[in-house]
Amino acid sequence: MLEKWVERALFVSMLFCALCVTAVFGFLVYFSWPLLSNVRGLAGIFSSVWKPFMGEFGILPMLAGTFSLAFLALVLACPLAIGITCFIEGLAPARPANAVRSLVYFMTSIPTVIYGFVSVFVLVPLIRDTFNQGAGFCLMTSAITLSLLIVPTMVISLETEMRQRAEEVRLGARSLGLTPAQELLWVLLPCSGRGLVVAMVLGFGRAVGDTLVALMVAGNAPVIPHTLLDSIRTLTAHIALVVATDSQDQAYYSIFAAGLLLFLIMALLTLLVRTIGGRFGQGGKRHERAF
């Protein structure tokens, strides 16, 4: 009886969540419709010029900014995340491993604004004085800051996967006479491919969705970046900057288009993680059988 009720309650909450997401999507489409429904509006949105006071509402620079920032942050964060995970999942003695693990868990609880704030006072002057080009508010600064933000997410996701795999393969690996380092490098890491991909997609998603770091340290110039030291504007920062403008203005619709794009990017990423994750998952099982 109780089980039935729990089942029903869970079903209702699932339905509610699904409904909310659909409603958000519908809302975004509804509000960006005036812009999407006419060809000129659509062409205007997918242009590379953002000059709202001259009637140019292109958000391509923001799309480019979002992708270059998220990609660069991922490139920086990936080796870090793999290294940290290997350290706490096998290479390190228990005590330092636990210390690092606690640190990573603690990092997830640091508010984004702290990263942005510290970055403005520490990293921005450092980058400005080191490279002597631009004001320091740029793609590189924000990517470094953002990589720190996404590392814990990636480590936790990868570690969960690795620990599960470790339980499955440890006995076999030990019986073959592998040292912990060999086990990690030749058995555990290759088995955790799915975990790595999931961690990367999660990290990328977090980087795409972050607003405050980009708003505070990326510079926000609406131009397509050519170098690492260029000032960039992301879709999220664009929404934050434009949301307070005259709501009767056409510029205002561009933020719904930006929101719609973000929504679609995230949906695509989720779909990606489902399909790739599934395929790797089977791969994982095959390894399991081999042992």
């Binding site: 403005v120 006072f121 004001a135 110039a221 131009v223 434009v242 307070a244 005259d246 709501s247």
Partner: protein, 277 residues
């Protein structure tokens, strides 16, 4: 001796009562009123609204006044949709906004916008023409302006900023603004950016200027509140309160208070120039 002391005390008491009397007469219009006033919008207005609200709520605890920010655009939207009673803007509301929502505007103070550089920068005087060329990107090195051989780092504000609008209209004459200029989201962030970068240039509300940044003399006119009031310094804007339709009795009392002598004192305290009624 005793007698003089007594007279002095009496005089002090009279003065105290008189002062109290004047203040009471300013706040008297709130006597017997009840209800809430929710305020949102322009960030420049917040200190003034907060101080006025504090005085009024202390005088009459039956009145609740809440103050939120959000920017001029949010102010219009919220008051227009009936979410707040007074929406503040650092710009005149547009015709479209006025006709859509039926807004009534009450200007109450003048705020000036100054061009600022880092205090370490030897450049302290510029012409309006030079500023135009700097912000359009045509002048890109400080050495062309008598400064060191270093690239100029441009800082500007977001599209929703009232400060940006004044600067762009009154100083750049709606001219080109370099696309690669860095954009910061508040007066505070602008101050931090310019104070931390010896080669930066940006602009701030005059009320926000402190020793961390240097206000540039433009065409020989110093950007001070006095010059803004006399009209010698022309990069200025009005600060507005807006209501949807005619204000209610309580809202009217609040607006009258801001426009009265007490409100003028509060505006002056925060670096704005009151518009006397």
């Amino acid at each position: 001796m005793k007698r003089t002391t007594f007279i002095a005390v009496l005089a002090a008491l009279c003065a105290f009562l008189a002062a109290g009397g004047i203040q009471a007469s300013e706040l008297d219009r709130f006597a017997g009123l009840k209800g809430t006033i929710d305020i949102a919008g322009g960030t420049a207005h917040i200190p003034v609204m907060n101080d006025a609200g504090k005085n009024i709520m202390r005088f009459n605890p039956d009145i609740r006044i809440t103050v939120a920010g959000g920017g001029s655009g949010v102010g219009v939207q919220k008051v227009g949709e009936g979410l707040v009673d007074i929406g503040n803007t650092g710009r005149a509301v547009s015709e479209a906004e006025k006709s859509k929502y039926g807004l009534v505007s009450f200007p109450f103070a003048i705020d000036g916008v100054a061009v600022v550089v880092n205090p370490k920068n030897p450049v302290s005087e510029l012409s309006a023409q030079q500023i135009k060329e700097i912000f359009s990107g045509r002048i890109a090195n400080w050495k062309d302006l008598g400064g060191p051989d270093a690239a100029i780092h441009l800082f500007t504000r977001d599209e929703a900023s009232g400060t940006r609008e004044v600067f762009w209209e009154k100083l750049l004459n709606k001219g080109d603004l370099a696309q690669n200029a860095n954009i910061v989201a508040s007066n505070g962030a602008m101050k931090v950016a310019v104070a931390g970068d010896p080669h930066a240039i940006g602009y701030l509300g005059i009320g926000h200027i402190s020793k961390d940044v240097k206000a540039v003399v433009i065409d020989k006119v110093e950007p001070s509140q006095e010059n803004a009031k006399s009209g010698a310094y022309r990069v200025t804007r009005y600060l507005y309160m807006n209501t949807k339709g005619q204000p209610t009795q309580l809202q009217q009392a609040f607006i009258d208070y801001i426009l009265g002598p007490d409100g003028a004192e509060i505006c002056k305290k925060h670096g704005y120039i009151p518009i006397s009624k």
